[in-house]
Each structure stands twice: as C-alpha cells, then as structure tokens.
C-alpha cells in the first residue's frame, strides 16, 4: 500500500519534477540560511557560519541528486544515463563494437529474413487489408470427412443470403489459364473467375476503374469484361488508357473495366492473377485444373466449380457460422455416397487452392523448422558475444570493482552491462533490418521478373517483422549479456582491483569453453540439416524420372484461342501431329494434356476392393512412349483411331506402379478400371486396360504416383502440349520448322511456349522452392559455421594472449615451444570434440524430424557426403581457428613476454 502510494507519487513526479526541484532548491537555501543565522547568534563570523552550515549539509550536489532520484523513478531517469554511458563505452572500443554488431546483425538478420518469408506466406493479412481474416466455406459429406467438393452457383447464392453470419461472401473459379494475344504474341496468363463483390469485399477501393457489376455476375450474361491486376497495369506503364481498352483472351475481345488494388491477391496470399473475369464471361476460359469438372458457372446445381470464401460478422465464430449453416446444409442434395451433405466454415489454406479446408500443416511445420534453425543461428551468435563480453569483462574488472568498492550496487552494474548489451542488439538489429529490407526488395523484384510466374511473396518488412526483430534483439540481449553481467559483477573487490598478474598454472575457464562447445554443437546440427537439403535439391535436379529428358521438346498451345469446336480441334490436332511426325529431325511426336514438373496435375481416384488409389490422369495420343524413349511392358499402345475419334471404345494404359499397387502384379490386360473425379462419386468413367507402361515420376520432389493414360479422341481438350522427341542434338534446330508447320496448319493457332524438357524441369516451381529452401538452409549453415569459427578463434586468441607471460616464463625455464602449441591445440580439440558429439546427437534428432516432415526425398538421412562432410568442414574450420592463435604461442618473445605487464 505504502509502496503503491510512493509509486504513484513518483509517477506524478515525472511531470512535476521541474517544479519540485525548484522547491527543493529553495528549501535547502532556507535551511542553510537558518543554520547560518544560528551560527551568527553563537558568535561566529557570517562567513564561518555559512561555511559550517554548508559542511553540515553535506555535498550540496549529492544531496540534490539523492533528492532528485527520489522524486521520480530512478530506472526511468537513469536509463538514458545508462544508455549514454553504454554508447560512450562502446565508442571507446570500436573494434569490439564493430565485430559485435556484425555478429548480431548476422544472427538477427537470419531471423528477420526467415521471418519475413514466413510472414509473407503464412501470417500477413490478405490483400494488406484490415477487413478481418476471410474464412473458407466448404461443402462435404458428413459420412466421409475427407470428401470435399466445389460449390455450384445456386449453392453459393444460398450461402451468401446468410447475412446474419457473414459481412460478405465471395466465390471464384480458381486458376484458369487463358491465352492473351498482345502485339502479335500469344502467351498464357493466369486468371480467376470471380463473383461481382470480390474486390469490394476483399480489397477495398480499385486502383482504377470499377469492379464487376451484379449483372455481370449472372451466369449466361456474356458481357465480356475483365479486371486487370496492379502488376499487369505496371507492366503496361500504368497506362491510364488501359481501362476501357480491349484485351484479346482466348481469341475473344474483353473490355478492361478496372484495375485491382495494389497488392491484391484474392483469397490466397502467395499467388496473384493477371486478370479476373466475371461469372458471366466464364465460359470463354478453359480451365485445365478443373477440366472435366465444369469450369463453367451456370444455374445448374450439379455444375460445381466454385470456391466460396466468407468474411464473418463481428462476434460470429467459425463454429457459430458452421452451426448457422446447418439448416442450409440439410437442404442440400445428399452426397453421391448417400451421406448427408455438410457445410463447414474454417480457415482456408494460404498455400493451395482447393475445395478442402486446409491449415497448411506442412508449410507450418516447415516454417517452424526454419524459424528454429534461424533461432539457433542467433543463439550461436549470442554465445559468441557472451564469450567476447566475458573476455572484455576481464579487462573491465578493475572498473567494475572500483564501482562496487565506492558503493555501486550489483543490480546497478548488471543493469549497466545489460544496457550496453541492449544498445549493441539494437544497432545490430537496425543493420539487420536494413539488409533484410534491401534483400527483400531484390527478391521481390526477381520473383516478379520471372516469366510466367504468378507467385508473389511480399517480403517488405511490416510491423510484425519489426516486432520480430525487436523480440530477437531482446532475446539476444538477455542471452548474451545477462550471464557475463552476473559473473562480472560478482563482488570480488580485492582480486579485481589488483592488476592482472600471472594466472595460476593451467587455469581452466569452463564457462567460455562451454559456450564455444555449444556453438560447435549447434553449428554441426545446422550444417548437417543444411547439407541434407542441399543434397536433396541437387538429387532432385538430376534424379531419374524414369525416362530420358534428352532431345525432348514441349510445345504448348490452346485451340480455345481460335474458338475451335471439339470436332475442329480434333481435326486440327490430328493434322498437326501428322505433319510434325513427318518433319525431318523429329523422331516422335504426340499430344499430352499434362506434362511433368508442372504446377497443374490432374488426378483420378480408383476404387478397387474397397481400396482407394490416387492416380495421375493424362490424356495422350499415340506414340506416347516413343516420345519418352520407353518400351511397352505388355499389351498395346493407343491406335490412330483412338487418338482421333470420339467414337472409339474407352481404353486406358496404366503404369507399372498402378499394377503393383492395385493388382499385386497379376495380369491387368482386359480389366476394367473405374475412375472417379472425387471421393464422393463412385464412377465417372470406366476404362478397359489395354497396355502397361513403365513407371515414371511427374515431379522429383514427390513420391512415385500411379498413372493412367487415356486416348485423346474421346477426351478432347482444347489446351494440349505437343511432346516431341527429336533426333539427337536437333532440339533447337527443329523449333523453327515446328513453328512454321503450326502456322501452315492455321495461322491463328498460338504457340504459347516452346522449350526443351530440361528447360521446363529447371523452371518448375517445386524445384524452385527446393532450391530456395536449400539456399536458406545453406546460408544459415554457412553463417553458423562462420560464427563458430569466429568463436573458437576468439577464445583461443584470448587465452593465448592471457597466458603470454606464463609462456614466457616456461620458455625461460626451457619448455619446448612445440609442447605449448600442442597444449593450446589440445585444449581446443577437446572442446571441439565434445561439441561435435553433442552436435551429432542433435543433428540425428533433427534429421529424424526433417525426414518425417517429408521434405527430404531422393536423399538418404545418412548421406555419406553430409554425415562425414559436415563434421569434417567444421573440424577444419575450428582447427584452423585455434591453430592461428596457437602459433602465436610459438612466437612469444622471451623478454617481451616477461615484460608484458
């Protein structure tokens, strides 16, 4: 109670301080005058009386300081003083300060960078908006918890009516890829087909023009309007005339009505669309990912193609919203399995667009691992600094002892040393932030410059990054300066005041050795995981997909661009492959709906004896195996008729993997497969197996998948890729004749891209991601290695310097120099060995963790290069770091050493 009153009075003192100090001065003056008066009455001369009064008062300034300290909080008051003192102390040792700031900048910078990335992918609010977190609305089967489907337009309208739950409900058909004709060139762009309220609900005011109108949303309204993205606008130099102009998409003219706000990415933060189309215009864009499912938006309840996202009203929880939709769910048609439909309101994945609720478990696990490793780097840096501070502290012992001796309290000295640490951290953090910001600008520019990429990672530091950096500063301050501050402020007056003398014999310094050992252990763990990731990346880059990539050529096209009907399209593609197969330099040519290493994959589920098997589903022409350079294992390939005619009976080729998983190796020829698009549908198509092909992989970062191939004739797609196997060395030479041939068939058929299979693989998103992640791991590993080496070097150098005199004496007594070097090295080696053993255990634990996260394919957890290489690199680095100081022991000059003090 009393303490509280005092605290309040002191708080008040913060504001009234000036006046109270004036009051006090006057009080003291009257005190002195009264004392003087009394002295004069006692018969002293006025001067003498005044002198005595002042003496009795004690040091006027001390009294005043003591009083002022009591007026308000000493901490608030003296923190600034502490900071000023810390800055002076640090300025006095510029070398130490520079190294410390550099180490901290590395440690904090690593954290800031990793956190920026995580922030961009997982944390940052969508569209930079403050509208609250959009929630996904999902429709599924109550009896099959993993069976989720898309919404139909009428169902979306039903959900949208629940305005008591939702402020706004938006819907979209994700990831369409129409072809944009511009200046004589045609290229694929990314597009989403969205509800009319999409921009107003999610993004705030448009950068220019308008969003869609309610009329444009009506299915069947064919008003061809388009909204373009801010980056698209920027690529066109912010041309104000772009709004109102015409874009040719898939051969049709669309009027640009508006530009989306800057940074607008819709419901997913990491990918933006180049353009958005309204539901009414949806029928003009083909959609690879949902092809087969209807990409169209109609009033038909069975045409399901929409993803629905809602903004909850204030105070409405996910659960409440889910309950609020129960009656609506009960009214929905039962799922195909017979189960009742359910509606769920739950967060939407930030990294993948799909009809199922996702919490990005994998991404979060990866983020956690990354963040932990970055923290480890910071800890290593802090251990390093702790050692530096301890070493420096020895030099400051006299100063500290003096302060203790003249009555400084221990708490005050600890506070002073912590303040010094904090000043270092803040400077380090500021440097780190600057570099993170610069690197983020570079990275963002690079990503935006990637051709055809619609990945966007907003890395510019925001408030949460700032907060993370501030947190890192605080953590590191405590981590590196609390220990040394405590140790150094131990009252050991006599010892500290004496100048440094000869240290007794082989004095051990366990704490610094412990710190260095810890650095080595953590660095090893980091190096091993970094090594595994680098190896996984390298292995994925050269891994065997099951066929050769050499002489492979991919030509992407889309007949939607010329608005071909299926019959026309079949004819055009037929003519095209015929001409290509006859082209000199072309070994084989075929059509394929999906190519490996792509972002888009089409899959089907096969139900067989209650087993559910996921399989990749590809529409191909004849000669498919020839374009891969593979041999048929059993049965036959597709005939020309099956390639050209929709009337041919439904057949399929399956691969080795599927046979192994489904038939246990028995003869599959003649068997019928039932393929379904979604788990809630039993049977979308039935196909007869006519041949077996070798297993191949679509992506080097994934496990082997089963494959089903169906012929093009009965499964016409407007967007196909021509797969061509050229004669050896002819890849580049044939590209021109190929373009000519396509132009001769129909001048309007766009060549969206033409690239070799190897080029295509190298540009694949999965490989890019793996490269990025192994890059981060590698960088963290190198930083940790560097920090550990600096730590080892610093400690050895310090110890050798401290023992210069001892060495001198031993030299004088005839000790061989070699022995002393061996001693210094030996001590370092023992510490390193202990660190490595612990680090090895840590690395093993980490490897198990990484292995479970499924991030390390194509590489053995006991990869010899990593398991032997990492400790070796560390050993060489630390060995060198302790050898250099050890050599100094060799060079000790006898006389100089004895005079060293």
């Amino acid at each position: 109670m009393r303490a509280l009153r005092r605290a309040l009075a002191r708080l008040l003192g913060l504001v009234t301080r000036r006046r109270r100090e004036r009051d006090f001065d006057e009080e003291v003056r009257s005190h002195v005058e009264m004392h003087t008066d009394e002295g004069i009455r006692a018969g002293l001369s006025p001067e003498e009386a005044r002198r005595r009064a002042l003496v009795m008062l004690g040091g006027a300034q001390q009294t005043r300081d003591a009083y002022a300290d009591g007026l308000t909080f000493p901490s608030l008051e003296s923190v600034l003083q502490d900071v000023r003192f810390a800055v002076r102390m640090l300025a006095k040792a510029p070398g130490f300060t520079a190294v410390a700031v550099f180490l901290l900048a590395l440690g904090i910078g690593a954290n800031a960078a990793v956190f920026s990335l995580i922030n961009a992918v997982l944390l940052r609010p969508l569209n930079g908006a403050t509208v609250g977190t959009p929630m996904g609305v999902f429709v599924g089967d109550r009896t099959r918890p993993d069976a989720w489907r898309f919404f139909s337009y009428p169902e979306y309208v039903d959900v949208r009516r629940h305005t008591e739950l939702f402020r706004a409900v938006v819907a979209e058909v994700p990831a369409a890829n129409p072809a944009l004709e511009e200046g004589g060139r045609t290229q694929r762009i990314s597009a989403s087909v969205v509800s009319s309220n999409y921009f107003s609900a999610l993004g705030g005011p448009m950068a220019a023009g308008r969003g869609f109108t309610a009329a444009e949303e009506n299915p069947g309204d064919a008003t061809p309007t388009v909204v373009i993205s801010y980056p698209f606008w920027r690529r066109h130099g912010f041309d104000p005339a772009l709004v109102g102009s015409t874009l040719r998409l898939n051969g049709k003219a669309f009027t640009v009505v508006g530009v989306a706000p800057e940074g607008f990415t819709g419901v997913m933060p990491v990918a933006w669309s180049d353009v958005w189309l309204s539901f009414g215009a949806a029928s003009v864009v083909s959609n690879r990912s949902t092809a087969g499912a209807s990409g169209r938006v109609t009033n038909d309840r069975s045409a399901q193609s929409l993803l629905v996202t809602a903004l909850l009203r204030d105070g409405v929880t996910e659960d409440a919203a889910t309950r609020g939709l129960e009656s609506l769910a009960a009214g929905l048609a039962p799922a195909a399995s017979g189960g009742r439909a359910q509606l769920l309101v739950s967060p939407r994945s930030r990294t993948a667009m799909g009809p199922n609720p996702g919490r990005d478990t994998n991404a979060r696990a990866g983020a956690t691992v990354l963040m932990l490793l970055a923290l480890v780097v910071l800890i290593v840096a802090c251990l390093n600094l702790a050692n530096m501070l301890l070493a420096r502290g020895s030099a400051r012992r006299p100063e500290i002892a003096l302060r203790l001796a003249i009555g400084g309290s221990r708490g005050r000295i600890v506070r002073q040393l912590l303040t010094e640490g904090f000043v270092l951290s803040v400077v380090g953090g500021a440097v780190a932030l600057f570099f993170t910001w610069a690197a983020a600008r570079q990275a963002t520019a690079m990503l935006e410059g990637l051709p055809g990429s619609n990945i966007v990672v907003t890395l510019t530091p925001d408030l949460s990054v700032l907060a993370a950096v501030a947190f890192a500063c605080l953590v590191s301050t405590v981590a590196f300066s609390l220990g040394p501050a405590w140790t150094l402020s131990k009252p050991n007056l006599a010892g500290g005041l004496k100048t440094t003398g000869i240290r007794g014999g082989r004095r051990r310094i366990p704490v610094p050795n412990l710190l260095v050992g810890g650095q080595i252990a953590l660095s090893l763990a980091l190096l091993v995981s970094a090594g595994l990731f680098l190896r996984a990346g390298a292995a994925a880059a050269v891994a065997d997909p099951g066929y050769t990539l050499e002489n492979g050529l991919l030509v992407e096209t889309d007949l939607d661009a010329i608005s071909a009907s299926p019959a026309d399209g079949l004819r055009t593609y037929g003519a095209l492959v015929d001409r290509l197969r006859a082209l000199p330099g072309v070994h084989a040519a075929t059509l394929a709906s999906i190519v490996p290493f792509g972002e888009i994959r089409e899959g089907r589920l096969i139900t067989n004896n209650s087993k559910l098997l996921f399989t990749t589903y590809t529409v191909v022409g004849t000669d498919y195996l020839e374009t891969l350079g593979l041999k048929l294992l059993a049965g036959r390939q597709f005939t020309r008729l099956e390639e050209r005619s929709p009337a041919a009976s439904p057949v399929a080729l399956v691969d080795r993997t599927l046979i192994d998983r489904l038939f246990g190796g028995g003869n599959p020829i003649g068997q019928v497969l039932h393929l379904s698009m979604r788990p809630d549908r039993a049977d979308d198509e039935a196909v007869e197996i006519v041949g077996v092909v070798p297993a191949i992989r679509d992506d080097m970062t994934e496990e082997l998948n089963a494959h089903v191939y169906v012929p093009f004739g009965a499964r016409y797609r407007s967007a196909m890729t021509l797969r061509i196997k050229t004669d050896p060395g002819a890849e580049t030479a044939v590209t021109i004749p190929i373009r000519q041939t396509i132009a001769e068939i129909d001048r309007r058929v766009p060549v969206l891209s033409i690239q070799t299979l190897t080029e295509h693989r190298d540009a694949s998103g999965a490989l890019l991601a793996l490269t990025l992640i192994s890059g981060i791991f590698g960088t963290l590993g190198v930083i940790a290695l560097f920090l550990a080496s600096v730590g080892v070097y610093g400690l050895r150098a310090y110890l050798v310097a401290q023992r210069t005199r001892e060495f001198g004496i031993r030299l004088a007594l005839g000790a061989p120099r070699g022995l002393m070097v061996r001693q210094v090295l030996g001590e370092g080696a023992r510490v390193a060995a202990a660190g490595m053993v612990i680090g090895g255990l840590l690395a093993a634990a980490l490897t198990v963790l990484l292995q479970q996260s499924g991030m390390l394919l194509n590489v053995s957890p006991v990869d010899p290069l990593v398991v032997i290489g990492s400790p070796l690199v560390l050993l060489v680095a630390t060995g060198l770091a302790s050898y250099i100081p050890a050599r100094r022991a060799l060079k000790v000059e006898l006389i100089a050493a004895l005079r060293a003090e």
Binding site: G13, D23, V28, H31, T63, G70
Partner: protein, 114 residues
C-alpha cells in the same frame, strides 16, 4: 566524530523523523535535523542533507505533509507535519522497534530469559 551515517540511518532515520514531528509538531527540515542531533545527545553528527531524501520518501508515502510557511526568524521554509497515516505508521514502527530491541536485548542478557 560520529559513526558512518548509513550504519544508523537506514530504516531508523524515518522513524526518528516521525517521532520528532510527533513530539514537536510541524517542523522544517533544518529543525528536524537539529532535533535529531540534540535528542541523540550529539553522538550522531550527520550530513543534514540526508534528511531531505528521507522527508521526500515519507511525503510520497503519505506519512507526512509539507507546506510552505514562515519560520520564527521570518524565513520562508517548508514545514512538515504528521498525517493520520504517518501517526499510524509511527505507532506500528514503535511497537516493531520495541519488539526487535526486546528480542535482541534478550541475547545480550541471557540470564533474563525463560
């Protein structure tokens, strides 16, 4: 000369101030200092300055109240007087003091125990 002030003052200075104010009524800082010196029989000779931080602390705790007034010699001075809180605090402290000295005293006069 007397002893090092901090030896005696810590904790007891506040008590002495409160007691002086209780006995003498409102007093200025100089008066309090003189009074403590006199009562101690001039065995304590202190920096009068240390009185002021102690007065400030007591005032902040609400035990005393300071007001500007005129001294006997017509000098402007800050007069301190006990508040109700201060009186209570003094009673409490006095009891505490008696108990402590009693306990400590028993150690020095072991014969009187039990």
């Amino acid at each position: 000369m007397g002893r090092k002030p901090s030896d005696v003052w810590q904790g007891t200075l506040a008590l002495m101030i409160l007691k002086s104010l209780e006995t003498m009524g409102a007093m200025h800082g100089y008066g309090v200092a003189r009074r403590i010196e006199q009562v101690s029989g001039d065995t304590l000779s202190v920096n009068y300055g240390t009185i002021y931080p102690a007065l400030l602390k007591l005032e902040q705790e609400g035990a005393i109240r300071g007001e500007w007034g005129l001294s006997e010699q017509n000098r402007r001075a800050r007069f301190y007087s006990l508040t109700r809180t201060g009186r209570r605090q003094l009673e409490e402290a006095a009891r505490e003091w008696d108990r402590t000295t009693d306990i400590v005293g028993r150690f020095f006069r072991p014969g009187e125990t039990s």
